[in-house]
């Protein structure tokens, strides 16, 4: 009995120390803009802290995650282009090897349910296992990355700051990376300012907005301009790549050629467009949608011709440019960590 009391006492001391050391972490608050939906990401399982965010930021910019220390996440996800791959239709990885898909923009990921063009990845935290282990991306082994980080005094220090001790595990690594990527929030475009009543659209933008709501918003839903759904948007299959989309994951016939409906935020800078990067300009994208209307098997929004005039197409593009958020694209908190 006495022993039990002693042990309880000892346990209490240990608990006290742990609780005390915890207070060194600087909690961060994830603010959700008014009238936006609640995020999908479960912050309770990975409470944000400044130290974990900074660890994740270092990891994101560090080629140590690749086999030959040549490729970092930022190689394919550059901030100035909405965290996507600049001017590459298909992403290049290690030794210049080409992948089969266009890199996705990393914007407002907290609200995404599924990840990747086919929705094959079910949680932001496990997404990095893909690029790290993909032979044409970073071609590294997760256990190897853990060992390399454990050997690095810089990372031992950063892990200790983030987690209270120096131990590197894949779970800690993945959760820290998620703290960075989940924080890539873009909520201050001209569109947002208009919605908040701080400014207003000019006539062209307003006309583009009306057209957008009519033809596009059922899939690219406000305020995130994406959707959890997977859809066909009328692109012909590229027979060289033969990427069939969502069907690969679900095995369901109706998912043939369906792809994720990506966000259009910062779309002005995230070119090229579509899962295989086939369009270089927004003009081409809008022309593509405007050319549809003859295939009854497409979703109903795209089954009838839009018949947009030249001016209307321009207005629509002008509206899409109001989704550009410079405070996001140049936010110093998301930049390469110098020091």
């Amino acid at each position: 009995m006495k022993r039990a009391i002693l042990i309880l006492g000892f346990g209490g001391v240990v608990f006290g120390i742990l609780a005390f050391s915890k207070s060194y972490f600087t909690p961060l608050y994830f603010e959700v803009p008014k009238s936006w939906p609640q995020p999908e990401y479960d912050f309770k399982k990975n409470p944000l802290s400044e130290e974990k965010f900074q660890l994740g930021r270092h990891l994101f910019y560090d080629p140590i995650l690749s086999r030959d220390n040549s490729i970092s996440c930022s190689s394919c996800h550059a901030q100035a282009t909405g965290f996507t791959h600049v001017d590459h239709d298909l992403s290049h990885g290690i030794e210049g090897k080409k992948g089969t898909r266009n890199s996705l923009a990393l914007i407002n990921l907290a609200w995404n349910k599924d990840f990747h063009w086919d929705g094959g990845v079910n949680n932001l935290e496990v997404q990095p296992i893909n690029p790290i282990t993909n032979p044409v991306e970073m071609d590294e082994k997760l256990e190897h990355v853990v060992a390399k980080l454990q050997q690095s005094s810089k990372y031992r220090n950063l892990f200790a700051k983030a987690y209270g001790d120096e131990k590197v595990t894949s779970q800690r690594l993945l959760k820290a990376l998620a703290q960075f990527t989940v924080s890539l929030k873009s909520t201050n475009s001209k569109y947002d300012q208009v919605m908040r009543g701080e400014t207003s659209f000019d006539a062209q933008e307003q006309n583009g907005y009306v057209l957008f709501k009519k033809h596009c918003a059922s899939c690219h839903t406000e305020p995130l301009f994406n959707s959890d759904k997977f859809e066909r948007n009328g692109l012909a299959v590229d027979t060289a790549l033969n990427d069939l989309g969502r069907i690969k994951i679900t095995g369901r016939k109706e998912d043939h050629l369906r792809f994720k409906i990506p966000t259009l935020r910062n779309i002005q800078f995230t070119k090229p467009y579509m899962h295989d990067g086939r369009f270089k300009t927004l003009n081409e994208v809008i022309k593509h949608y405007n050319s549809l209307g003859h295939d009854k098997s497409l979703p109903k929004e795209l089954a009838k011709p839009m018949n947009l005039s030249d001016n209307e197409r321009v207005d629509m593009e002008v509206f899409l440019n109001t989704l550009t958020d410079k405070t996001f694209l140049f936010n110093p908190r998301f930049q390469f960590p110098r020091e």
């Binding site: 022993r3 039990a4 002693l6 042990i7 000892f10 479960d42 399982k45 990975n46 990747h116 094959g120 990845v121 079910n122 949680n123 932001l124 935290e125 496990v126 296992i129 893909n130 282990t133 993909n134 997760l142 256990e143 853990v146 595990t169 894949s170 779970q171 993945l174 959760k175 998620a178 690969k248 994951i249 679900t250 095995g251």
Partner: protein, 228 residues
């Protein structure tokens, strides 16, 4: 200072004693081929007359639950265990304190449930480093059987069965209930020969994605488990 150190050491020592003073009740798994212990890289002949060597056998067992004859139930918390034939200690799972009660049933899942599959980055036996995780289509591999057989006209005559998938209608986890009637450790055999008695290796030798075939093989894998 040193005095305090000794006190701490002493307390730790007591703690150890305390932790060990109760014998635990184990669930012990034995991987067999037709009732003989399965050894990796050794040749076996299946009832289909295929010559088989197994180079890896791993599987997840989760949500272990023990029902006693007095109707009480013990549910293990955070119950996820990776059984790996290459790592014998993984096959012995201490789950609770030994009691004098008669055990009537043990239930568990073969594989990992959908909630756990969508819970993000996990550690321990669920660490993706364990090599039981699919990246491009997130999810755990519930059971992995790899090896060689001349019946497979594949590269190096290899066969690879990675059975998994949590999305309906291809949820490959299987619930298993095994009746027991004793007080002490529970012994469960996993008979790999049951699997090879039904799989036609010439045509089915590489299953690496969720789907219909994985579902059929998951049904089969569930028949491999029985109480000795």
């Amino acid at each position: 200072m040193t005095k305090r150190k000794y006190t701490v050491l002493f307390l730790l020592f007591c703690f150890q004693l305390f932790a060990q003073s109760n014998d635990s009740l184990n669930v012990n798994f034995k991987v067999v081929f037709d009732r003989f212990p399965l050894e990796l890289n050794k040749r076996y002949v299946s009832t289909k007359k295929d010559t088989i060597t197994v180079t890896a056998f791993k599987c997840y067992v989760s949500d272990l639950e023990i029902q006693f004859a007095d109707k009480t139930v013990f549910k293990e918390k955070n119950s996820h265990h990776l059984l790996d034939l290459a790592n014998p200690s993984s096959l012995q799972i201490p789950i609770t304190k030994n009691s004098d009660k008669i055990i009537s049933k043990v239930t568990f899942n073969i594989g990992i449930d959908s909630t756990t599959n969508t819970s993000g980055a996990l550690g321990g036996d669920l660490d993706p480093i364990q090599g039981m995780y699919w990246a491009w289509q997130s999810g755990y591999v519930n059971m992995k059987i790899e090896g060689q057989s001349p019946s497979c006209k594949t590269r190096k005559n290899q066969f690879e069965f990675h059975l998994g998938g949590y999305l309906q209608p291809y949820n490959a986890m299987r619930k298993k209930v095994i009746n027991i009637n004793n007080k002490s450790d529970i012994s469960i055999s996993i008979d790999v020969s049951v699997f090879f008695a039904e799989v036609t290796l010439a045509t089915t030798n590489s299953v690496m994605i969720p789907g219909k075939i994985a579902m059929e093989l998951a049904d089969l894998s569930s028949k491999m488990f029985y109480s000795e």
